[in-house]
């Protein structure tokens, strides 16, 4: 029983919670907050159950729940989890749960906030779990609406601008995805949206040139979400204006959907186009759009981060930089590269969540985030400074903490394939250290700013509660990354194999043609 429905429960229980919240009276603040917590708890518990019962060796989708939704169009309700998505599901459940607590400080229109947040969780879960392309698209778009309102109503001073910018950018990407989706759907006969089979169904029916076009259309949709240069400009705005918990979700979960989508759809459905030349006799698609662009993201994001005065903007740009490692790693098609990339997705999710939560802590107290406006916080808030230091070091990739493992795996994996890019990407670690340490020094060290010297600020218990599980994960995965790697590796290697096999096939065909 539970095997069949577990994913559906995980996806729709938050939505049920949202419905309950809309029925509560608007003044019952405590009731609304705890209903929010109660609605995210089952998904978290079920995700733990999922981890215990997930069979990593099986690369096929597991815990499948599947039935015909729109029979005449062969659209299915098809949820399933495999090694690519399992860690993302856990990350989503965990961050949603923690963010409920991080949202306790919200005062304005509480009811709407929590209801929309839960709707957002349904959208996120569904996106990671859907294996029907149409269903995936519906969930993907479903996330936009709550996000627009969450930024636009509960955000900072320029929230309206940031919200509409986020909305338009993401929609621009997704309509291109829609066109590609329809093209893919109509190619095989009978038409199909089944992501697990679509690749095999269309492989021989679409010329490689059109496949590359479709690949690029899908990529633009996902690149906007990652966000990859030059589609990244919505991100700093959205982060600066969004309330803390929404920034956490945005950076922790939503950005991963970009890279997840590339793995699931670009690689899974159009493997042959992934390593095909982008133009005649040109470099491979994955090399240009993932490896090279990813490396550029690493450098560009790091330099932008260095120039920021706003701490939140700094963290936002650091996300762009860190997501670059994911792109670089997944373009290498080596076991280390792709494993490192997906591990980096998880690690960035936990670390950047910590960073945004910590920014929120100081913003709630000082009501500004100007790096220059602090100084010597270590002597005012020692505990807070300690946790911040931990998170900053984790983000820098210090050995012993989780990001180190994933970044090293990415660099190792890509060294064999793109040594030039790897050298550049590796040297960016220095840049990361530079902006992180510089910010740390300006804000926390030195003489305390007299303005805040006697405020008696310190991080409170609720805030620590949201940070502690993430810190434990960061430490644990820094020491024993196999916890995650074991789960994802077989599925990722199979995906690697799927993509690289098309190249062997193509060269084989070419040599046969040459021989004749």
């Amino acid at each position: 029983m539970i095997e069949t429905y577990v994913l559906t429960w995980m996806t729709f229980l938050p939505l049920a919670g949202a419905v309950v919240i809309t029925c509560l009276p608007g003044r019952a603040h405590q009731a609304i907050r705890w209903t929010g917590v109660a609605a995210t708890t089952p998904s978290l518990l079920l995700s733990v159950w999922l981890l215990r019962h997930f069979d990593p060796a099986n690369t096929a989708p597991q815990f499948v729940h599947r039935f015909a939704w729109i029979r005449s169009y062969n659209i299915e309700y098809f949820l399933g989890v495999d090694g690519i998505s399992v860690t993302m599901v856990v990350l989503t459940a965990l961050l949603s749960f923690l963010c409920m607590f991080a949202s306790f400080g919200i005062e304005k229109a509480l009811k709407g906030y929590f209801a929309l947040f839960l709707l957002l969780e349904t959208g996120m879960m569904g996106t990671f779990l859907a294996l029907d392309f149409f269903l995936f698209y519906v969930f993907w778009e479903l996330m936009l609406l709550p996000m627009y309102f969450l930024i636009g109503i509960w955000g900072g001073p320029r929230r309206e601008y940031a919200a509409i910018k986020f909305f338009l950018y993401t929609l621009l990407g997704s309509v291109l995805m829609l066109v590609a989706l329809l093209y893919l759907y109509f190619t095989p006969d009978p038409h199909s949206f089944d992501m697990t089979k679509l690749g095999a169904l269309v492989a021989d029916k679409i010329s490689i040139r059109v496949q590359v076009l479709l690949w690029v259309a899908l990529f633009i949709g996902f690149a906007i979400k990652i966000p990859a240069f030059p589609f990244h400009t919505w991100l700093p705005d959205a982060h600066v204006e969004a309330p803390t918990a929404i920034s956490v979700i945005l950076a922790g979960v939503l950005l991963k959907m970009g890279t997840y989508g590339i793995l699931r759809i670009n690689y899974g459905v159009l493997p042959a186009a992934t390593l095909a030349p982008l133009w005649d006799n040109g470099p491979a698609v994955a090399f240009v759009l993932l490896a090279a662009l990813g490396t550029w993201n690493i450098i560009y994001g790091a330099f932008c981060a260095m120039a920021q005065r706003d701490l939140k903007k700094l963290v936002a740009y650091s996300s762009i930089s860190h997501m670059g490692y994911v792109m670089l790693g997944m373009a290498a098609f080596t076991p280390q590269g792709i494993n490192g990339a997906v591990l980096q997705m998880f690690n960035h999710g936990t670390i950047t969540a910590m960073l945004f939560l910590l920014v929120g802590v100081i913003y709630d107290r000082a009501h500004h985030r100007d790096i220059e406006g602090f100084g010597g916080l270590a002597s005012i808030m020692p505990l807070y400074t300690g946790v911040t230091g931990f998170a900053f070091f984790a983000a820098m990739g210090i050995p012993g903490l989780s990001a180190f493992i994933s970044e090293v795996l990415v660099l190792l994996g890509s060294w064999r394939v793109h040594p030039e890019l790897t050298v550049v990407a590796a040297s960016a670690v220095v840049l990361t250290a530079a902006y992180m340490l510089w910010a740390l020094q300006r804000m926390y060290l030195g003489a305390p700013n007299p303005k805040y010297a006697n405020t008696g600020w310190e991080i409170n218990g609720r805030e620590l509660f949201t940070l502690a599980p993430l810190a434990v994960l960061v430490l644990l995965l820094g020491i024993y990354p196999m916890l995650i790697l074991d789960l994802q590796s077989p599925a990722l290697l199979a995906l690697n194999e799927k993509v690289t096999a098309t190249v062997q096939q193509a060269t084989h065909l070419a040599s046969m043609a040459g021989g004749q």
Partner: protein, 502 residues
């Protein structure tokens, strides 16, 4: 089928005609000087309900002896045709009438006018004309039906006699309409001259074996006919009347024009071009002539102009007018495909467009009634001054119009795009998709005003009547429902899309 026998299949139209006469009679009998009568509205409401029941009755219960496998039936010596396509539109138009009458009763502009009898007479007459448009299969009948609708629309637009904008709109509508129908009947005379018939079936047969030297002349005729139809559905470049008329007309009439008149225009367009001119791609006589490309270009332009112009509007009626122009462009994409799935997609599109656009206009009516203002600022902070449920429903309608899942508008767009992909109009589909991003901008602007902005000092609290909040809530629930469960609606559209071919 002869005239006498045809009346059995003419139930909805007869009901409308009878109600029309009844309104005139009752109005004469009851109206005193300056006294308002409730009777015309009541009769119109009853007639609308009866029309829907009678129209639905055919496919569901096989009334009038048509049996379950509703065969297309020619009526009145091949002037009209009764097929599932016509029935689909009759149901849609009947429902539009029902909604518009309900809105009229709720609207201050209309309900406070002493000329109740005239209003409902003309409204019923206009609907009767639209019913004829949906089933006309003869150029002459089509022209007469179109003129019937046009003339009554001019009157309805100018119904607020003492309002200068209303009169101006009626005059503009009249002049544009005159030019368009002149062009159309000129084009029809070309088609008649070249094919020797006004009957769509015979036109189709004649086109199939038309000599090649006539192609250019035929094309000219068709383009002129398209101008007339294009004016009715308000596609670029025949759209200029729409913004002024939509703004000047009383709101229920704006809704009527945006929903019903457009649907009737599409019925006519589809029947002529997808049956008369060619069922699977334009007829061989058109080979080498850019009919598909012309339609596609009009569709592309219509989307672009509608969406770009809507961005800078400050009057909500005008904004919705441009938005409805853009939507005609999306629907036209399905016409340009020249295939059954294109027709089905247009029908589905019109059905979901009916639900969401009606909802948007209805909420606008509520806001205009309460605040007395038509500018966008009337919506400022609506959610924070007691209008939260209504604001939520409007947000649903607007996001649906923008084409976001899980709302009905997404399904409409999906099927139109799917038809475009299948018809290999790839560039048009990409264009349409990009245009829906543009459209989100102005739809979201209203949502932003309602939710993201705080009410200013001049924006007092609002209170809406419960019954009407209920009505828009039902429409928004339908918008959501069709976004998730659209299979039966699509099946109905597919069944209706076979036009005359059974």
């Amino acid at each position: 089928m002869g005239t006498a026998a045809s009346f059995r299949f003419f139930g909805p139209e007869l009901a409308l005609g009878a109600a029309l006469l009844l309104v005139i009679f009752v109005d004469l009998a009851t109206a005193g000087r300056g006294r308002r009568s409730e009777w015309p509205a009541t009769i119109a409401l009853g007639a609308a309900a009866a029309t829907v029941v009678l129209s639905v009755g055919f496919p569901l219960f096989g009334w009038a002896g048509l049996g379950e496998t509703l065969r297309p039936t020619w009526l009145f010596d091949r002037m009209l045709v009764l097929d599932q396509f016509a029935i689909f539109f009759k149901v849609l138009l009947g429902l539009s009438l029902l909604a518009v009458v309900t809105m009229s009763i709720a609207s201050r502009e209309i309900a406070e006018s002493p000329n109740q009898g005239e209003y409902y007479t003309v409204l019923l007459g206009s609907t009767l004309g639209m019913f004829l448009m949906a089933s006309a299969a003869n150029l002459l009948m089509a022209y007469l039906a179109l003129e019937f609708v046009s003339l009554s629309s001019y009157v309805l637009t100018g119904f607020l006699r003492h309002n200068r904008r209303s009169s101006e709109a009626a005059l503009k509508y009249l002049i544009y309409g005159g030019v368009a129908s002149g062009a159309m009947i000129y084009g029809m005379s070309w088609v008649y001259g070249l094919t020797g018939s006004m009957d769509y079936g015979q036109i189709a047969a004649a086109l199939a074996k038309a000599p090649a030297e006539n192609r250019l002349a035929l094309f000219t005729g068709l383009v002129l006919v398209l101008a007339g139809f294009g004016y009715k559905v308000a596609v670029v470049p025949f759209h200029m009347w729409a913004p002024d008329v939509y703004t000047g007309a009383p709101l229920p009439i704006t809704t009527f024009l945006a929903v019903a008149s457009k649907a009737a225009g599409f019925a006519m367009l589809l029947r002529f071009f997808n049956f008369g001119v060619g069922t699977n791609g334009p007829s061989a006589a058109m080979s080498g002539l850019p009919l598909v490309q012309l339609m596609a270009a009009i569709s592309a332009l219509t989307m672009l102009v509608g969406n770009l112009a809507a961005i800078s509007q400050t009057n909500v009626k005008r904004l919705l007018a441009y938005s409805s122009i853009a939507h005609a462009g999306y629907a036209l994409m399905g016409v340009a495909v020249f295939a059954e799935q294109g027709v089905a997609a247009v029908l589905l599109y019109l059905a979901v467009y009916y639900v969401m656009n009606l909802g948007a206009f209805w909420v606008t009516l509520l806001v205009v009634n309460t605040t007395g203002r038509e500018d966008l600022d009337a919506f400022r902070g609506l959610a924070w001054r007691g209008g939260a449920p209504v604001a939520v429903t409007l947000a649903i309608f607007l996001f649906s119009l923008a084409g976001l899942p899980p709302f009905a508008g997404f399904i409409g767009k999906l099927y139109v795009f799917a038809a475009g992909i299948k018809g290999q109009l790839y560039w048009l589909v990409v264009w349409g998709a990009l245009n829906s991003v543009v459209s989100l901008y102005y739809y979201a602007r209203i949502v932003k005003l309602m939710f993201l902005d705080q009410p200013g000092p001049q924006d007092g609290p609002v209170h809406f009547p419960n019954a009407e909040v209920g009505a828009v809530a039902v429409l928004s629930a339908l918008t959501l429902y069709f976004g998730v469960r659209f299979e039966w609606l699509y099946q109905a559209a597919v069944a209706a899309s076979r036009l005359l071919r059974g």
